[in-house]
Amino acid sequence: MAVTVSIPTILRNLTGGQKSVEASGSTLAEVIDDLESRHAGLKAKLVKDGSLHRFVNVYVNDEDVRFQGGLEAKVSEGADVTILPAVAGGMR
């Protein structure tokens, strides 16, 4: 199933500068594997130890996937997947 993935500035070096790319898959994990097959290196930026990296936010149709099952989140045909770097930190 074809979905559109928005790539943040910091990762565009892995997509040849493209702001958005096509991918397929029915879960976020499948979409990321498909992305990796065409834009090697992306997966390592998004996934760590089998779950979504804490440094990124991923949204499917503007919903934060952390609340939709993470990598198991369902992705429907034509969905918009948006990746943003998490903005976080603190003295801890």
């Binding site: 934060d64 943003l84 903005v87 003295m91």
Partner: protein
């Protein structure tokens, strides 16, 4: 160097004071390529914590979309430290993902005197930079100001 209007500095400090002892955070957007902070956007600290901050993810999506539409970028990304100095922590460095942003830290550990410092954080390397506070960008070396300062 970060060149920034005084009203924007005051707004960051006021936000940090208001949320103390929790960490406050936000961005100041500016036109892409200008390196000129203009639009103050205080953000919700989803952690509501004195030792950690994280932009609320849905609010961030909305603000990032607004910036995209307006051809803006986060020129400044700021947050406060409420019990330590205004220097990036290891956590700050590990999360820093905008090599073109000025990372501004405000320390509110002293109830009367705040400390405000600015850094570049690129590939885990922190470089402090001078901060020049100006009344208006009109006469600063960032060039002509096509948008009147709002007061």
């Amino acid at each position: 160097m970060l060149v920034i209007r005084r009203d924007l500095v005051d707004a960051m400090v006021a936000h940090a004071r208001r949320d103390h002892p929790d960490e406050a955070c936000g961005v100041i957007a500016g036109p892409a390529g200008s390196d000129r902070p203009e639009r103050f956007v205080p953000m919700t600290n989803a952690e509501r914590s004195p030792t950690f901050y994280r932009f609320d993810s849905l609010e961030q999506l909305r603000v990032w979309r607004e910036m995209d539409r307006a051809d803006e970028v986060p020129v400044v990304i700021y947050h406060s430290h409420t019990a330590t100095e205004a220097y990036p922590s290891r956590t700050d460095i590990s999360y820093a993902s905008e090599p073109d942003a000025h990372y501004v830290l405000v320390s509110t550990r002293d109830p009367h005197e705040h400390e405000l410092r600015s850094y570049r954080i690129v590939d885990g390397v922190v470089t402090e930079e001078p901060v020049e506070v100006v009344e208006s960008y009109m006469f600063s070396h960032t060039g002509a100001d096509d948008v009147p300062d709002c007061r």
